[in-house]
């Protein structure tokens, strides 16, 4: 799989995601334009039909997610992409998708909120993505790429995980990762065409009929269904992925994901350059969350600094993992402002001095 660095192509994150999906064998894409992710739709419009897939611009995000439901239920590899307000509109559909256990991929290129906000990068939809898929107790699998290479790789992985667990998989990224360019090398997806699942409503033949459904009128039946789902979420824990950078001898850890993680990485490098033993703990899956990795770090470091482009969301998962065993501090920028390496470095130093003072 190792690719010579020069074999890589320079691509926007949005386009790399679209291309990765095509290579993963996506058979249908339904979406509605919204900045900063419209390039995904545009790339699909230009290229998916030539690969035999269906591209359709839906009349809204509500329609798009329900088209995804229909196509996924009919057994196709399918995806949609949008940005924050669009994800809000998809909450009901997502809940139906988790309830009916349909595999599909959703891309959220987060932008500044709340409301119309702006089109600058953000990480303020973390709770919405990780804590629940709409109403009810459903969950999305959530993958958070930090580079464009990873955006492509995780898009591919998202399709596989979605199929493996019959569950929506979300790639949670941001306006900068969507809009920036970086070299990327593509891997090919699973063998095409993948098998049509037996549960899919393909209207084929005279065998027993198939049903895609989330209504269970009897509480006991709905409870049993939910228990199955919860049991599945527990099984998903094996998919947890995270990266530890310079954590071996770290006395202070930065926890961050996505764009913020790579900014934090530069800050960690600068801290090391100043002789501070900082490390980076980077969740790659944010649901399932790398609780164990955080808990382990808690036993080692003098403090954890969580950095997000939000008012503090992932930091709750860090705190839940750490359970008070080490101080957890938070640094966030809001509304599309991106933290810079010097800012993060300053926070690392501040955390250290705070910890020492105690």
């Amino acid at each position: 799989m190792a690719t010579a660095l020069t074999d890589r192509v320079l691509m926007k994150g949005n386009e790399a995601i679209a291309e990765a999906a095509i290579r993963a064998g996506v058979q249908a894409y339904f979406g509605y334009p919204i900045t900063p992710q419209s390039e995904i739709s545009e790339y699909m419009a230009a290229h998916l039909p030539e690969h035999g897939g269906a591209f359709l611009q839906a009349e809204s995000e509500v329609a798009a997610i329900n088209m995804v439901y229909g196509a996924a239920g009919a057994g196709a590899r399918v995806m949609t992409s949008t940005s924050s307000p669009g994800i809000s509109l998809m909450q009901e559909g997502l809940s139906y998708i988790v309830g009916s256990e349909l595999p599909c991929v959703i891309i959220n290129v987060m932008r500044g909120g709340p409301g119309l906000g702006n089109i600058a990068p953000s990480q303020a939809d973390y709770f919405q993505a990780t804590k629940s898929a709409g109403h009810g107790d459903g969950r999305n699998l959530v993958l958070a790429p930090s580079t464009i290479q990873e955006a492509a790789d995780l898009t591919l992985l998202a399709f596989d995980l979605a199929d493996r667990y019959r569950n929506p998989a979300m790639v949670l990224t941001d306006g900068i990762t969507g809009q920036m360019m970086e070299p990327v090398a593509f891997r090919e997806g699973p063998s095409l065409p993948r098998e049509v699942p037996a549960w899919a409503t393909t209207g084929a033949g005279d065998g027993p009929v198939r049903l895609i459904n989330s209504i269970y009128l009897e509480p006991e039946a709905l409870e049993a269904h939910n228990q199955r789902l919860q049991e599945k979420y527990r099984r998903m824990q094996v998919e947890v992925r995270s990266e530890a950078y310079l954590m071996d001898d770290a006395v202070v850890a930065v926890a961050a994901y996505g764009l913020t993680a790579r900014i934090a990485r530069t800050a960690v490098d600068r801290a090391r350059a100043k002789g501070i033993r900082a490390g980076l703990l980077r969740p790659i899956t944010v649901y399932p969350f790398p609780t164990q990795a955080c808990a382990d770090a808690a036993g080692q470091v003098a403090g954890i600094l969580t950095v997000e482009m939000s008012a503090g969301q992932m930091v709750e998962d860090v705190r839940l993992a750490v359970e008070g065993r080490t101080p957890v501090r938070f640094y966030g920028r809001l509304g599309g402002v991106v933290p810079t390496p010097p800012e993060v470095l300053a926070q690392i130093e501040r955390l250290l001095s705070e910890v020492k003072a105690r």
Binding site: E182, R262, A267
Partner: protein, 191 residues
Amino acid sequence: MASMELIIAGFGGQGILFLGEMLTQAAILEGKHATWMPAYGPEQRGGTATCTVVIAEEPIGSPVVADPDALIVMNRPSMDKFEPRARAGAVLIVNASMVDRPPERADLVVVAVDAAAEARALDKPQVANMVLLGALLAARPVVAMESVARALAGHFPPDRQHLVEINVTALTRGAAAAARQLPGAASARVA
């Protein structure tokens, strides 16, 4: 020097994103790591445009640069906004056709090129951006001029390959103009 954290800023329509893309592509052709990050204002036309390019031998952390070590400023508002942010010792390439004041800081390596005039001299106003890129590479040869030429060749479709040459010419003109302002060592590298 193998790494650079560059911000290019000016009006939309001045070819800022393209400049950044060609530089980034050149770095990649040399096997380096590189990121290109745009930032626009809300307007479809006439707004401001910024592009950040980071080039490095190691995987790149932040594609966002707070304190650039290289700057190309294409108009006065960009000069006002970004000059104060440059790291000490940074290279500052000034588009003299649009920036009507000298820099205030004394700790920067400044190169001022009348890019419009240079481009007019080539009868191709659109290549002013390449003039400035040439100037940058003269001051900070983070990639070889040759790699930019290859990036340009890779960019233009077959029926527009003739445009490669004029862009390369603009590059070298910019480099030459810069060389005249730079201390000996740097200008030697350009040759």
